[in-house]
Assembly symmetry: C2
Homo-oligomer: 194 residues x 2
């Protein structure tokens, strides 16, 4: 059970570590920053860091989750936005957060490798949740007649998520591709043909 207040203190301490870890990754990049070096930079012992995060992967996934939640608080989705609008807005905001797409891409790539059970579980569940939310919006738009219904909402949702992920990467490598306009053109493709 622990001492009274110990849990709340632990949560606050974990949060503090995540805030500092984000800064460390933004300063030094992801490559070559071991748990031991992060602990040094944050000013905690390696053992203390291991108390909160079992591995570098667990810390990185938590950093990503924390950054994503903060992004959602700063920039909440309007309830009445369409599926495509929600996705375009997320993508455009994501690329303005230093290191966020790099971290996401690195973690997703890592999750594909064997031996990465924590990342694999996290991103499989995350993709499932993101697609499910989008399926709901798109199915409602199909019923309202504002989105074509000759392709299933499930296929459309998976395509929108993939297009958004892939274009953020293409844009970071080459900003001439027009992230926002390219993604927004999906609303033309999804318009009913009648």
């Amino acid at each position: 059970m622990g001492r009274p207040g110990a849990y709340a203190k632990g949560v606050a301490r974990r949060r503090e570590i995540l805030d500092r870890a984000i800064e460390v990754f933004q300063e030094r990049g992801l490559q070559g920053t071991s748990l031991r070096r992060i602990a040094e930079a944050i000013g905690v012992s390696h053992a203390a860091l291991l108390h909160y995060f079992e591995s570098r992967e667990q810390l990185l996934v938590a950093v990503y989750e924390h950054a994503e939640i903060q992004r959602g608080i700063r920039d909440p989705h309007p309830v009445d936005a369409t599926g495509v609008e929600t996705m375009v807005r997320s993508a455009v905001v994501n690329v303005t957060v230093p290191g966020l797409v790099e971290l996401y891409s690195t973690l997703v790539a890592g999750a594909l490798e064997s031996g990465s059970e924590h990342g694999k579980r996290f991103f499989t569940a995350r993709f499932e949740r993101v697609r499910r939310d989008l399926v709901e919006r798109l199915a409602a738009e199909q019923r309202a007649g504002t989105v074509r219904d000759d392709v299933s909402a499930e296929h459309l949702a998976a395509l929108l998520v993939a297009a958004s992920d892939g274009l953020q990467v293409q844009w970071l490598l080459d900003p001439s591709i027009e992230l926002e306009r390219t993604l927004a053109s999906l609303s033309v493709l999804l318009r009913p043909s009648r």
Copy 2:
């Protein structure tokens, strides 16, 4: 100028190293395989490996390039395939090559980080070439009236490449998303509305 035949021998040796390196990565995964450990596994000296590849990143990019060329030789694009068909076929074949999407995703994520000039140059040029080839096909299909022309061929090409990259990742994490059928539904979205 070197000895006669030295260049050809160097090329053959480099190729041999790449063939072995692919096997090593497939056996051991990407994480934690340093240049030194790859040299050991291949049975060459660390210095010999550095003669051909200046860094781990350069070796990995070369491994990817080599694997992609071999894939293209085994499975060439039919000349008369549409843009969407070409892209679907590539994606479906990619996910059958063990480790290829993992390697691609890891290298692309790495290319987004600062300090990764070799990977950044390689993937920026590669995306540009893949999009340009697809723009040509799609523009020809727009002129022939088989692809809608109310979205530019440039935007469509960037979207197709992004959707294909993103869906391969989603499928590897969760095969229930139906890679081929989801991507093929893009041909419905690209159909002219008239």
